[in-house]
Amino acid sequence: MDNGKDILLSVQDLKVYFHLNQRLAQAVDGVSYEVRKGETVCLVGESGCGKTVSALTTLGLIPQPPGEIAGGQVLFKGQNLLDLGDDEMQKIRGNHIAMVFQEPMTSLNPVFTVGDQVQEAIMVHEKVSKTELRQRSVQLLEDVGLPAPEERLADYPHQLSGGQRQRVMIAMALACNPEVVIADEPTTALDVTIQAQILNLFGELQRERDLSLLYITHDLGVVANIADRIYIMYAGIIVEQGSAPEIFHDPRHPYTQGLLASLPNRAKRGARLHSIPGTVPDPAYKPGGCPFHPRCNLAIETCQSRFPEMCDYGNGHQSRCPVLYDGNG
C-alpha cells in the first residue's frame, strides 16, 4: 500500500456549506480522504457530522442552493470532479462512481419494475441490445444474491423486502462496473440479520470485482470486518484516520476511544454501556477551538480556543488530539 498512482478517489480539504435562514451550516469543513484501488475505506461518524454530505458532493448531488461548495477538490483519477459540467458529470455517475443509499424502502422508484430500473442503469451509459440488457440484469441480480432473478425483473419495489430492495440498489450500482462504489449507511435501515448478509455481500463483491469501496456508517462495529482504512469524522472534520487495526487497537483520539468503548461487545455482561455525554453540535453553531472539547473528558483550557492540527503517529495513522499526542496541546 504505497502512495501514488493507485489513488482513485481523493477528496482534498473539501468544504460544503448550507445557507439556511441567514445561518451558515458548515456541514463539511475541510475534509480530506482518499480511496485507493481495491481497498475498502470506512467513513465513520455520528448522524449530522457531514459524512453523507461529503459523499454526495463527490457525485455532485448536493442541491445548490442551499448548498455551496466553498472550497477543496474532489479528484477522481487526477481529474477534479467539481470542475466538470453537468453532461460530463453524468458520465461519471453510475459509470465510474456509483452510490448505494441508506433507505432502500424509498430509494427505488415505486412505479417502475425492478427490471426497468436495473436496465436503465446500464442503458444510460452503454448501448446494448435488448437480449444482452436482459441477460446482464439477470446476472447482476444473481450476483447480489436475489433468489429467482428472472422473475424479480417483473416485480415492483413494493413486492420486495427491505433487504431485497437494497440488493437491487447494489445491483444497480454495479451495473456498469464502476471503479468506486460509495455506500451510504446501506444497512442502517435493515434488520440485524439482513445487515450481516448485506455486509458480507459487500465484502464478497469488493473482493471478486476488485472494487474500491467507500463505506459510510455511524456504527464502528459494522466496519470491523470489512475496513482496510478508517476515517473518523466529527462535526465536519476528520478527527482520526488510520488502518483498521490501528484504529481498533490503538485509538489516539478521545472521540474514537469513546466510540469504541460504546460498542456493546466490548462491555462486560451486566455492566453499564459506555456513552459519550452530549450530542453532536449543530453545524450552524459549532464550538470554537476543538469541536469535540465540550464532550471530551481530556479537554484542557487550550482546547477551547485552538483548532487542533493533525498529529502524526506514523504509517498513515493521524489524529487531531494534541493533548493525547504530547500532553500539553
Binding site: 457525485l59 448531488l61 453537468d86 453524468q90 458520465k91 461519471i92 455517475r93 453510475g94 459509470n95 456509483a98 452510490m99 443509499f101 433507505e103 424509498t106 430509494s107 427505488l108 422508484n109 415505486p110 412505479v111 417502475f112 419494475t113 436503465e120 442503469a121 444510460v124 451509459h125 433468489p147 429467482a148 422473475e151 415492483y156 413494493h158 440498489m169 444497480m172 451495473a175
Partner: protein, 336 residues
C-alpha cells in the same frame, strides 16, 4: 434451520381481482345511489315552498286550482308514495316537467348537447395549460418563470369570474367586433359555412376560456406542489446517481409519480358537466344544463331538479369508479 426463499406469487391473477373489484363497486355504488335518491328527494320536498305556491298572487290561482294541481302531481300523497311515483317514472323514462309538460330526459339531453362543447373545450384548455406551467415552475423553483406563474395564478384566483367575464366580453367585442353572447349569432342561419364555423368558435371560445382560467390557476399550483414534493424523494436522487440525464430525471422518474393524484381528479371532473358552469352559462346566455337546473329550481320544477340531481349523483359515482380503475392501471402498489 433452513430458510426457504418464497417465490410463490399471489395465486389470484390481477385480471380476476379487477373483475371482482368491478362487481363489488357496482353493487356498492347502487346502494349509495339509492340512499342519495332518498336524501335528495327529502331535501327538495322538505324545503319551504311548493310548486303550487310559486305564484300565489296570480288571480288564476284559486284554491280549487291549487287543489287540482296538488292532486294531479300527487303532492297530496305521503312522501314515500310520491317517492315511488317519481322514481318509477324516472326509471321508465316517463318523467315530465311540471312547467311545460315536456319529457325531462329529452330536455336534459338537448341541454347536455349544448353544455358538452363548453365542458370539453374548457377542460382541454385547463389540463393542457396547467401541467406545463406547473411542472416548469417546480423544476425552476424560485426562478423568474416560477415567480411570474405564481403571481398570475393568484391574480386569476382572486378576480371574480363574473367581473373577469365582462372585461373579456368588452375587450373582444370592442377590439374584434364579434358577437359572443349565446350559442351563435341570432339570424346567421343561411351564411356560408366558414362564417358559420367561425361564429360558433367565437361564441364557444370566450366562455370556455373563462371557465378554464380559475381551473388553470388552481390546477397549476397543485401540479407545482405535487412535482416539488416528488422531486425531493429519494428515488429521484437515485436516478440522478445512476447518471440519468436531467430531463429524464424530471419527466420520467419524477413526473410519473407526480401524476398519480391527478388520475383521481380526472375521474372527478365528470360531475362538472352539470353544475360547473351555472354562472358562465348565465352570463353568456348559454342554453346549457347548469342554467336549466338553475331555472328549474326557481320554478320549483321538482321532476327536473330531481332528475338533474340523480344524474349528477350517477356521474359522481361513475367518476370515482373511473378514478379507481385508472389508479389501478397507473399505480402498481394499489391492491384491491
Amino acid at each position: 434451520m433452513r430458510f426457504v426463499h418464497s417465490t410463490t406469487r399471489p395465486s389470484r391473477k390481477r385480471e380476476d381481482t379487477v373483475l371482482s373489484f368491478i362487481g363489488r363497486s357496482v353493487i356498492q355504488k347502487t346502494i349509495t345511489l339509492f340512499f342519495v335518491s332518498i336524501v335528495s328527494f327529502l331535501i327538495i320536498h322538505l324545503a319551504p315552498g311548493e310548486p303550487s305556491q310559486v305564484d300565489p298572487l296570480n288571480p288564476k290561482f284559486t284554491p280549487e286550482m291549487v287543489e287540482r294541481f296538488r292532486k294531479e302531481f300527487h303532492l297530496d300523497e305521503p312522501l314515500h308514495i310520491q317517492y315511488t311515483y317519481f322514481y318509477r317514472d324516472l326509471l321508465t323514462g316517463k318523467t315530465v316537467s311540471w312547467k311545460d309538460n315536456q319529457s325531462v330526459l329529452g330536455k336534459i339531453w338537448e341541454r347536455f348537447l349544448n353544455s358538452l362543447p363548453l365542458f370539453i373545450v374548457g377542460t382541454i384548455i385547463t389540463w393542457t395549460l396547467s401541467f406545463p406551467v406547473g411542472i416548469r415552475s417546480a423544476i425552476f423553483r424560485g426562478g423568474l418563470y416560477d415567480r411570474n406563474a405564481t403571481f398570475f395564478s393568484y391574480l386569476l384566483i382572486s378576480i371574480p369570474g363574473f367581473f373577469f367575464a365582462y372585461i373579456l366580453i368588452i375587450f373582444v367585442v370592442t377590439q374584434f367586433h364579434v358577437p359572443v353572447i349565446g350559442l351563435k349569432t341570432f339570424g346567421i342561419g343561411d351564411a356560408a359555412w366558414p362564417r358559420l364555423f367561425m361564429d360558433r368558435v367565437w361564441h364557444l371560445l370566450l366562455p370556455s376560456i373563462l371557465g378554464a382560467t380559475g381551473g388553470i390557476a388552481i390546477l397549476s399550483r397543485y401540479v407545482r406542489s405535487q412535482m416539488l414534493e416528488v422531486e425531493g424523494q429519494d428515488y429521484v436522487r437515485t436516478a440522478r446517481a445512476k447518471g440519468v440525464p436531467e430531463e429524464q430525471v424530471h419527466y420520467k422518474h419524477a413526473l410519473r409519480n407526480a401524476l398519480l393524484p391527478f388520475v383521481t381528479m380526472f375521474g372527478l371532473i365528470l360531475p362538472g358537466l352539470i353544475g360547473g358552469s351555472v354562472i358562465i352559462e348565465s352570463i353568456f346566455s348559454w342554453p346549457g344544463m347548469g342554467r336549466m337546473a338553475f331555472e328549474a329550481i326557481l320554478a320549483r320544477d321538482y321532476p327536473v331538479i330531481l332528475t338533474v340531481n340523480f344524474i349528477s349523483a350517477v356521474l359522481v359515482l361513475a367518476g370515482t369508479f373511473v378514478s379507481d380503475l385508472l389508479y389501478l392501471v397507473v399505480d402498481p402498489r394499489i391492491r384491491l
